[in-house]
Symmetry: D3
Subunit: 200 residues, 6 copies
Amino acid sequence: MNERPISRFPVPALESLPDDVRARIVEVQEKSGFVPNVFLALAHRPDEFRAFFAYHDALMLKPSGLTKGDKEMIVVATSGANDCLYCVVAHGALLRIYEKKPLVADQVAVNYRKADISERQKAMLAFAMKVCNDSAAVVDADFQALRKHGFSDEDIWDIAGITALFALSNRMANFTAMRPNDEFYLMGRVPKGDKAAKAG
Amino acid sequence: MNERPISRFPVPALESLPDDVRARIVEVQEKSGFVPNVFLALAHRPDEFRAFFAYHDALMLKPSGLTKGDKEMIVVATSGANDCLYCVVAHGALLRIYEKKPLVADQVAVNYRKADISERQKAMLAFAMKVCNDSAAVVDADFQALRKHGFSDEDIWDIAGITALFALSNRMANFTAMRPNDEFYLMGRVPKGDKAAKAG
Amino acid sequence: MNERPISRFPVPALESLPDDVRARIVEVQEKSGFVPNVFLALAHRPDEFRAFFAYHDALMLKPSGLTKGDKEMIVVATSGANDCLYCVVAHGALLRIYEKKPLVADQVAVNYRKADISERQKAMLAFAMKVCNDSAAVVDADFQALRKHGFSDEDIWDIAGITALFALSNRMANFTAMRPNDEFYLMGRVPKGDKAAKAG
Amino acid sequence: MNERPISRFPVPALESLPDDVRARIVEVQEKSGFVPNVFLALAHRPDEFRAFFAYHDALMLKPSGLTKGDKEMIVVATSGANDCLYCVVAHGALLRIYEKKPLVADQVAVNYRKADISERQKAMLAFAMKVCNDSAAVVDADFQALRKHGFSDEDIWDIAGITALFALSNRMANFTAMRPNDEFYLMGRVPKGDKAAKAG
Amino acid sequence: MNERPISRFPVPALESLPDDVRARIVEVQEKSGFVPNVFLALAHRPDEFRAFFAYHDALMLKPSGLTKGDKEMIVVATSGANDCLYCVVAHGALLRIYEKKPLVADQVAVNYRKADISERQKAMLAFAMKVCNDSAAVVDADFQALRKHGFSDEDIWDIAGITALFALSNRMANFTAMRPNDEFYLMGRVPKGDKAAKAG
Amino acid sequence: MNERPISRFPVPALESLPDDVRARIVEVQEKSGFVPNVFLALAHRPDEFRAFFAYHDALMLKPSGLTKGDKEMIVVATSGANDCLYCVVAHGALLRIYEKKPLVADQVAVNYRKADISERQKAMLAFAMKVCNDSAAVVDADFQALRKHGFSDEDIWDIAGITALFALSNRMANFTAMRPNDEFYLMGRVPKGDKAAKAG
C-alpha cells in the first residue's frame, strides 16, 4: 500500500547521466517545475531515451494539420485503450492545458464518443483506435473517411504515427510500471496549472 | 462541439416530479451543493429511479466488511472496464473523498494493478473484474481466493452485488449518454473538495 | 454429480422473512404452483430483494410499446449472451408462454438471427446485444435504426433498461450459482404448461 | 415471421438421391419417426453427405472410453460455444436421452460449469472448449490434466475429434441456416421421448 | 530443442495399415516424392482417415467455380486465422504451386488484405473469415455481397465448406501437434518445386 | 491484382534525401544487395526515419543476454500476432539466417508453441506475447518466471523493448501498407541466402 517506485528498474542519478540526456532533463525540469518520471525511467537506457524523445519530438513538436491538442487527444485515447496509467495521467494533463478544457482528458480517456470534442476529432480518434487495436484491418476506405473531414494524407500519417509511437510508449510504461508524477493529476484542472505544458 | 445535454432523454422539471423523488433530489442537492445528473436523468422514470436508488442504498450504505472506499473502488474499476464516463467521473470523486487519496480514482479507473491500494483491495478488484467481464466462469476457487484475504461470504456478495448493480448503471449511463456534472471532475483532488461526498 | 443447491448462499426459511418479502413469495407460489428459486436466493438479502423486484416490475409489468413477449425475448437473448443458466431457463419458459411458441426460447437463447421472430424483433435484439456487450459504443445512429422499425424513444429505453437490468440479474445468478427450478425446463413446451406464466 | 425453410440451399427429393444416401435417410426415418433436417440439407451434396456421416459414425458410434452421453455432451457444449441452433437442439435431444436427464442439455449448452455432471465430465468439457476456441494453445499439460481424471490418450483423441468434427458441423449448419426439426425440441424432456435416439 | 515428432500420437507403420489406407499413402508418395505427415498422423485412426480424405476430395478435387488456387487460398487464410502450423505450411506450398506465385501464401497467411490477389478473391476470403470466426452471424447480405463478385450459390457453399472442413483439420493438427514435413517449406518458392502439388 | 506499391505514401528518390538518411540506405544496400522497403517507406519522413533506426539499433545491435536470433524471434512472433506482413517476411528472413534454421520463422510466426526452439525461448516469447497483447496485465510474477529461465532484468527489458518497438513498427507497416521486398521471402531458406542478414 506504500507508494510504488518510479519504475521497476533502477532510476539513474542525474549526475551519472550523459550530458545530452541530463541537459534534456534539466530543460524539462526548468519548464515544468518537476521532472516527469518518463525521463527518469527511460534514462536507464540512454540510447533508447534519445531515440524515444527524437521520435516524440518529430511527431509531437513539428508543424502539422493537427493542433497540439489534437495530438495529445490521440495520445490519451490510445493510452486509455491500452490501460496505460502513466500516459493517461501525464498526457491527460497536457491535453487539458493545450485544449484549455479541464474536463476533456477524462472524457477522452474513458470514451471519446461522449467527449466534448468536434466531429472531426471524433473521426480522428476512431481511426486512431483502429490503428491501435486492429491495424491489419486498415484499408483505403479509412483514408477516404478522414479526407472527408479535411485531413490531408500527411495529417493521417501524423494520426497513425502518434498512435504507433504510443503503442510503444504504453507498453514500456506498463512493463516498467512507470509511476505518473503526482503533479500531473491536477495540472490543467484549475486555472493556474499551465506552466508544465511542455512536460511529457 | 457544444456541451452535450444531461441525457438523450428529457429531463423532468423538479416541480413535476413525485414528492418522494423530488425530496431525494433536494436532499442530495443540500448535501452536495448540486444535483448529480444521474438523479435528473433517471427521474424521467420515477419507478425505475426509486428501484435504482433503493438497490444502491441497500448495497452502498449498509454496514459491511467493505469500507465505503472499498465499495467506490469497485464501482470505479467496473465503470472503467465498461467505459462508462458518468460513473468513472462521479464515483471517482467519491472514491477520492472516502479514501482521502486524490490520485486513487484515476489509478483504479485505468489499471487497478498499478494503483496505490492494498493487496486485499487488488484481490477484491480482480474478483469484481471477473464478475464484470465473465461472470459465467466464477467458480468456488474464486471464493477461496477471497477468503484468504479475510473476506467473509457476505463481503463477497457485496463485491459481486456492487459490480452487478453497476453493470446495470453503466449500461443505463452509456445508453442515455448521461453527462457527468462538471463539479465531479475536481472533487477530492484538492483539500477543500469534501462536502459532496454523499452525491452519487 | 449430485444436484446443485439453489444458491451458493444460505436460503432463508419462509417464516424467517419479513412480511412483505414472504407475501411476494407466497403470491408467486400461488400463481405458478412453485416458488422460482430467484425469489429464495435473493431473499437472503431482503433489501436487495425488494429493490430488484421493484426494478423488475417497473420495466416488465408496465404498459409499453413492447409486448410481454418482446420483453422476455430481450431477457432470454441477454441471458444467452451472458451464459446465465437460471435466466435462460426461467425466462425461456415465460417467453414460450407469452409468445405461445414452444420453440422460440431455444432459438433466441442460441442465435436470435435464426429465430422465428419478426424483423422488428431482430432489430430490437440487435440493439439489446449492443447494450449488453458494448454499451459504450451506442450512438445516435442506433436510435435511428430502431425508429425505422417503429420503436418510440420510450420503447428504446425499455429495450435498454431490460437489457441493463438483466446485466445485473445474470451476474447475480452466475455469481450465486442460482439453480433454475426443474419446472421451468418444460413449461410452455406442451399445451398445458401455461399456469406459471407470472413466475420470474 | 414465417417459419424458416430447412436450408438456404435446395433440399433434394428423396427419390432423386443416390441409393446409399436415400437408404441412410430411410433408415434414420424408420428409427426416429422423422428425418432429421441435417440429412436433407447435406443431401444437396451427396459426396459431402457420405463423408460427413462416415466421420460422424467413426467417432460417435465406435466403442470408446467415453459413453454415448459423454460424446453428445461434447457436441452440445461445442455447439453452444459456436451458437449453432441446429446442433444445440438436435444433439441436446440425444444428450437428454442417452444421459436419461431431461435437464442436462440446456445446462451444458448454456454453461457446463453449472451442469449436473461429474467432475470428470467438467474436465472433459473444459478441454473441448479449449480445442473449440483456442486449439493453437493446447499443450502437454492439458493432456496431463485429463489423464488425472482417468482419460486415456485415445479418449482424449475422441474428445478433440468430436469437438473438431462439430467445428465443421456447426459452421455448415450456421452457414446453411439449417433448421432443427420441431420434434427435437421436446425429445427426452418427458418419459416417452426415447425412440429417436439414433437421429442426429 | 530437438525436432518435434510427427504427432503426439503413435504413427503406424505402413505395413500395418489397411490396404486402402496404405494404397492412398503410397499414391501420394509417388506423386509428391514424400508422404505428407497428415497422412501418417491421421492413419492412427483409419476410419477417420477415410472420412477426412473423402471429405477433402469431395470439396477440393471436384469441378467448381473456384479454381484450385482459390480453394487453397481459403485453406491458408483459415489456417492462418486458426494459428495452425501444419496447414499453413503444407497448403501454403500447394497455394504457391497452383497460383504460380511464390509470395502469395505468406501474404494470405498473414493478412489477405495486403496480398497480391484479386478483389474477387479478397471478397471470397472476407466471407471465409466470417465463417471461420463468427459463423452464427452469417446473414443473407453476405450471400448478396458474394453474388456481386460473380460467385454462384454453389461456389459460396464451396467457400464455406472448405472453411468448415479446415475448422476441423486445423483443430486436429493443433491438437495432435502435427509436424509439417520439411519439404513443404520450400515448395513452390523456386521454379523446380512443382512436383508435389498433389500432396496435402 | 497488380503488385501493390511499396507504400500508400510517396517514396522519395534517393538523391532527394538528406545525406545521413541516404548514407544509411546506401550502406544497407551494399550489405544486402537491395534496399529493404522499410527504409524507402520511412524516408518519407527523415526525422522519424532517424529516430526509428536509432531505436532499432539501440535494441537490436547492442550486446545483450539475448542472441541476435532471440531478438529476431521476438520480432517475428510479435509481427505474427499483429498480422504485419512486412515484418513477418523481412524479419523472418533475418531469423532464419541468424538461427541457421530455414524452418523456424514460419513456425514462430504461426505458433511459437510448436516451433523447434528451446523452452527458454518459449518462455521469452510467452512474455513478449503478453507485452504485445495485454501489457497492462504484466505483473511481478512474469519477471519471476523469466528469471527462472536465466534471464536477467536487463534481458527482460530487451524482450519488452523489442516487443514495444515492433508494436510501433507493425502499426506503421500496416498503416502504410508497406510491401516486403520479394527478396526476403526466400532468404535463409536455402544455403546461399546469408548475405542480406544485416537488412531490416
